[in-house]
């Protein structure tokens, strides 16, 4: 069994351990169909973060789409409510056009959703599971937290128009303080507010170090509530000794029409972009006509393809050659003997040079001969 496990690719190993983690916390697997009606995605296009949806015509002439996202389908089908929460996880392929790739790609996603009353325990559970998921991939991980309520509160207070708010949020997502300065100058925003926006964009550090700084940025109740929620999260994480790799970073900005509370992203050292992303999205659930809160996250495991790969030294342990005079039964027996010893064997007539092997054996009429080691 040990050896068979070693054959699994990194992403397969990760799926294996993630499923175990999710099941442990009472999440059950959600299996969904490969496609949905296109209209469903078209209505919620801005949630998808991508303009492109792979479509085709179904047998009855309806326009169908290969799913670009799983969360939408789960929310549509959920029976979770404030009284009885639903916990589900999934492991599905989604189809998206990665920017710059020029074509649709199949992306392997593993994720989970909690739909019900998202109280502070539910939020903490999701954050801890996100942390465990990252840890299952590598010990060198970072989980970044942000809060949409905090950002929204500051935007309300800023005196900026909607279009400019969007530009400022974009600058915050780029940590672009000079861009914010420029916009504030154009819109005649006072220095105090400009300072707050710039500080927010530049803010980065562990939750523990950075939280005191955001207290000084608060200028309305909405922001204070958000800060208090983050404070509470820190307190709970600290109790379990889980706060060290959790950072505060407001450059994570999601669509305000869908997300409301805590949002987060996870990074693994050695993977150039965020591998995990998630957050609180009550507004989406309510938009789809359900009375519940929701929080969840997803990991894009295709990013692990090039992570920690070591080139295999050999394709097989033994290359076993035979010729026309070889007795087939004896050959099969020799191969069986080798595999019984735990070796991998390729049996072929000629050594074409395309296979890397540890030892080369030859089956002649008089028996097995070692040709090279």
């Amino acid at each position: 069994m040990k050896q068979a496990e070693m054959l699994l690719k990194k992403e397969e190993q990760v799926i294996f351990s993630l499923r175990a983690i999710f099941e442990q916390f009472g999440y059950r697997k959600f299996k969904m169909s490969k496609f949905e009606e296109y209209d469903f995605y078209a209505e919620n296009r801005s949630f998808l973060n991508s303009e492109n949806i792979l479509t085709f015509t179904g047998l009855d002439g309806k326009l169908l789409a290969l799913k670009p996202d799983v969360t939408l389908s789960i929310v549509k089908n959920t029976r979770g409510s404030r009284e009885a929460a639903e916990r589900v996880y999934y492991n599905e392929n989604v189809y998206r056009a990665r920017r710059g790739a020029g074509e649709y790609r199949e992306i392997m996603q593993v994720g989970l959703e909690y739909i019900g009353e998202a109280d502070s325990y539910a939020t903490l559970e999701i954050l801890l599971l996100a942390q465990k998921s990252l840890k299952a991939i590598s010990g060198e991980y970072i989980l970044d937290l942000s809060h949409m309520g905090f950002l929204a509160g500051l935007m309300e207070q800023s005196g900026l128009g909607l279009a400019q708010q969007k530009s400022v949020l974009h600058c915050i997502s780029e940590k672009n303080a000079h861009g914010i300065r420029e916009i504030c100058r154009e819109c005649g925003i006072d220095n105090d507010m400009r300072g707050r926006l710039e500080t927010l964009a530049g803010l980065y550090g562990t939750l523990e170090d950075a939280l005191p700084q955001i207290q000084t940025l608060c200028c309305n109740e909405k922001m204070e509530r958000a800060a208090a929620e983050l404070e509470d999260i820190l307190r709970c994480l600290k109790t379990g000794g889980n706060e060290k790799r959790v950072h505060l970073d407001f450059s994570i900005v999601n669509d305000m029409d869908y997300y409301n509370g805590v949002i987060f992203q996870g990074f693994i050292d050695g993977v150039p972009s965020s591998i995990l992303s998630g957050g609180r999205y009550d507004k989406l659930v309510q938009k789809l006509g359900k009375d519940a809160d929701a929080i969840g996250f997803a990991l894009s495991l295709d990013l692990l393809e090039r992570f920690e790969t070591t080139e295999r030294e050999y394709d097989v342990d033994t290359l076993l050659l035979y010729d026309d005079g070889t007795d087939t039964a004896a050959l099969a027996q020799a191969a069986q003997m080798l595999t019984d010893n735990g070796q991998s064997v390729a049996v072929q007539k000629k050594n074409t040079g395309g296979l890397k092997y540890k030892q080369l054996l030859c089956m002649r009429e008089r028996g097995l001969e070692i040709v090279a080691e």
Binding site: H178, H247, V271, S274
Partner: protein, 217 residues
Amino acid sequence: MRNKINIALPKGRLGEKAYDIFEKIGCGCPEIHEGGRKLVFEDEENGVCYFWVKPSDVAVYVERGAADIGVVGKDILLEQPYDVFELLDLGMGKCRMAVAGVKGERPDSEHTLRVATKFPNIAREYYRGKSREIDIIELHGSIEIAPVLKMSDVIVDIVETGVTLRENNLEVLEEIVKISARLIANKASYKFKNERIREICGRVAELCETGKQEGKL
């Protein structure tokens, strides 16, 4: 060295100026002055590795994590969005993105405006804001001759001194946006090499600020 910083620099004058800044803040790599055709230069002592890439590719190297930070013109970042942090405006390599046309002629507003450019997205975005119907002609160089040959009505291009425009009997009609060099960082590198990147960033900002005051940059 685990905390080695990989820096992508744009080949050419801008990259050389940017390197000078890095050298001044103590991230030099003397070997780089030897010239030749080598593209990668590493300095163990200062923990830096520089590589020269095509200016329009810098953001790609940074986004994909081959480089932790890089120096790139704002024009490149405006033309195509990249998933990177834009940490600083270096205030050098200053120029502007502008619409230019043949001197003395004003394109009439009755027809679809033909726009020759290397920056189709910037041009499209700009004219969308003005609700103007346009026909984009994407070129890769010598944009200035398009209006001279009547292939296009105007061009959208970078204007630095205006000499090229003048010599081809063109003039600036409208300015779209001011351009300068930016310091960008890979998002994951920013997190895992945070201290080092922030330190570099802070020192570069300081140097650029004094440079600005002295009017050198």
